[in-house]
């Protein structure tokens, strides 16, 4: 047992636990349980909003898979990773104030509430709920695996043991505290990520003997490492650019991100969040991936890419500092998992159970069903993670691309195009999902179609289908209600 490393991790878990408890006490006092448990009563300010978006988005792939890929592929992968800076400003500007205003009028608590009210179609709601449950669940299982690996490599306990610790820690504060606990701990974890990343970058540059030394060493290993085309020279400009859709602008359509775009208090919070979010996500992504590349000359020969960051941290820093730094990826994983967990259970409870199974459920029933479903989802993820699939990053990306293909246009056109209707939305979701899955398997078998990431073609296809079907089965132009729908009519 490496206690120097474990102690800071335990402190992190303790902080998270305390925050969860504190939030649950607030939950007891609040009036609308659902809106508070799943949305924190729309009262988050700028810093919290920015941090929860960054922390939800920055996951195992940002701290383990991504830098690991940079380690083996070189600066081409750093270039690819920097497409993510856009997430900091794009989501909040595009969904923007219109989404916030409409969500209030609709009394929307989940992402699907918006789609339900906008398109008034059971099919749209059910397909959305199913895809959220399936895709986010697989994303979550991947994070679960990442979290357990990390705890394992730090503490030396067995994989199952690590998985168990991880599950308990996450479940306790999500079940007890709900969205508020998730957001507040996200903020704590976001700050840990930011500071930890910067310290590690400095440590790595010093250990490598300065920048000029590092670049000279990288060139000596393989000159392509410092080119934009990757170690083998086969990272094309088209492929790298297609990541602008996957991890740049497409992030708008991720339910766990979009739901945060309706949780803020006022315009000022949103403005601050745009600035803070951009700076934090830009700094973390740039630094983490630079660390990944610079680790190559310092510690050549790391075989499991996901272990680059833990190993380099233990190599270049004293153990206690490494412990604090490694709390960062753990924080990233936990903060992604908690949001996904809540998203999945809100889909089950709010979008399926209350909409279709038991519309007249009492508050007490809703409360116990919410917490019960959250617990069950967590436990199933634990069971699935026991014998995990190998490629963490790709499983995660599969889920992200699938959700983007499904929700991109129903979301954006629903907000901004008055002729968007349920036929268009339905056709677009089916096309997006179907073509994503088909192209995924095509790409695995024959190499990337058109040389771009899987998500690219489905996003364009689903746009065309959306517009065509909306016009083909034309309905009269949609007007948003001018006031809260409960007060009107």
């Amino acid at each position: 047992m490496k206690w120097g490393v474990i102690t800071p991790l335990l402190i992190l878990l303790a902080i998270v636990f305390v925050v969860g408890m504190w939030s649950s006490r607030k939950l007891d006092k609040s009036e609308g349980f659902l809106s508070d448990y799943f949305l924190g009563s729309r009262e988050f300010g700028g810093l919290l909003l920015a941090m929860t978006m960054v922390a939800t988005y920055a996951s195992a792939s940002s701290f383990l898979g991504g830098p690991g890929a940079a380690y083996s592929i070189g600066f081409g992968w750093v270039l690819l990773a920097m497409t993510q800076v856009a997430t900091g400003y794009f989501v909040l500007l595009i969904l923007g104030k219109k989404f916030a205003i409409i969500a209030r009028r609709y009394n929307a608590i989940t992402f699907i509430d918006f789609l339900k009210e906008r398109y008034k179609s059971t099919a749209v709601v059910l397909i959305s709920a199913v895809s959220i449950i399936v895709f986010l669940f697989s994303a979550m299982a991947a994070q679960w695996v990442g979290g357990a690996y990390l705890i394992q490599s730090l503490t030396g306990v067995s994989y199952i043991g690590a998985l168990f610790i991880f599950t308990i820690a996450v479940l306790i504060y999500v079940i007890v505290g709900g969205f508020r606990a998730v957001v507040v701990t996200d903020a704590v974890q976001g700050i840990i990520m930011l500071v930890g990343t910067l310290l590690l970058l400095v440590g790595v540059i010093i250990a490598g003997g300065g920048l000029s030394n590092l670049f000279a060493d990288l060139t000596a290993i393989n000159p392509n490492l410092i080119s934009p085309f990757g170690a083998d020279g086969n990272l094309t400009a088209a492929y790298v650019s297609s990541y602008w859709i996957l991890v740049g602008v497409g992030v708008v359509a991720l339910p766990q991100i979009a739901v945060r775009a309706m949780s803020y208090k006022d315009s000022k919070s949103m403005h601050r969040a745009i600035l803070i979010g951009t700076v934090v996500v830009g700094t973390i992504m740039l630094s983490m991936h630079l660390i990944g590349v610079f680790a190559r000359p310092i510690m050549p020969g790391i075989e499991v890419a996901d272990q680059v960051i833990p190993l380099i941290a233990l190599e270049v820093l004293p153990p206690w500092l490494a412990g604090i730094l490694l709390a960062a990826p753990l924080a990233a994983i936990m903060s992604t998992v908690d949001s996904l967990l809540l998203m999945v259970s809100s889909s089950v409870v709010k979008d399926v159970y209350i909409n279709y199974v038991k519309p007249d459920a009492s508050i007490k029933q809703v409360k116990s069903v919410s917490m019960g479903v959250t617990a069950i989802v967590g436990i199933v993820a634990f069971l699935l993670a026991i014998s995990p699939p190998d490629l963490l990053i790709f499983l995660n990306l599969f889920a992200i691309g699938g959700l983007e293909s499904a929700f991109m246009w129903p979301m954006i056109l629903g907000l901004y195009w008055k002729y968007a209707n349920k036929s268009g939305a339905l056709a677009s979701m089916v096309t997006g999902l179907g073509s994503y899955i088909a192209i995924h398997y095509y790409n695995q078998a024959y190499g990337d179609l058109l040389g771009v990431h899987t998500v690219t073609v489905p996003v364009f296809l689903s746009l065309i289908v959306f517009v065509v079907f909306s016009l083909l089965f034309k309905e009269k132009a949609y007007e948003f209600p001018t006031q809260n729908i409960r007060k009107g009519a």
Binding site: G96, I274, L275, T278, L286, Y416, G488
Partner: protein
């Protein structure tokens, strides 16, 4: 009701403008990122020039590009975004309640 609708249009117009600003930022971001990366980085690595210890394409595209985006976002937040209420005002609801009666 009329007044209410006008107010809605006004706030949505602000929101639409800000969404377009978001698109503008992404386009600038992409062009800068792509232009410097593949403009300066496409020659063989042995011929790279270095700026502040980094190969020029890495410095301009990744490091300076990120800082430029921070600055642009700062300018947008400071000068272009409008502070509008997100809640609907109470008085308009009263009007409607009278109408509903």
């Amino acid at each position: 009701m009329k007044k209410n609708e006008k107010k809605q249009e006004w706030r949505f117009a602000v929101a639409n403008k800000e969404a377009l600003i978001g698109c503008g930022l992404v386009i600038i971001n992409f062009v800068w990122w792509y232009g410097f990366a593949y403009g300066l980085g496409s020659k063989p690595p042995e011929e790279y020039t270095y700026v502040l210890g980094f190969p020029a394409w890495i410095f301009f595209s990744l490091i300076l590009g990120t800082l430029v985006m921070f600055f642009l976002v700062f300018l947008v937040v400071k000068f272009l975004l409008t502070d509008i209420p997100l809640e609907d005002e109470e008085e308009s609801n009263e009007e409607d309640e009278v109408m509903n009666l």
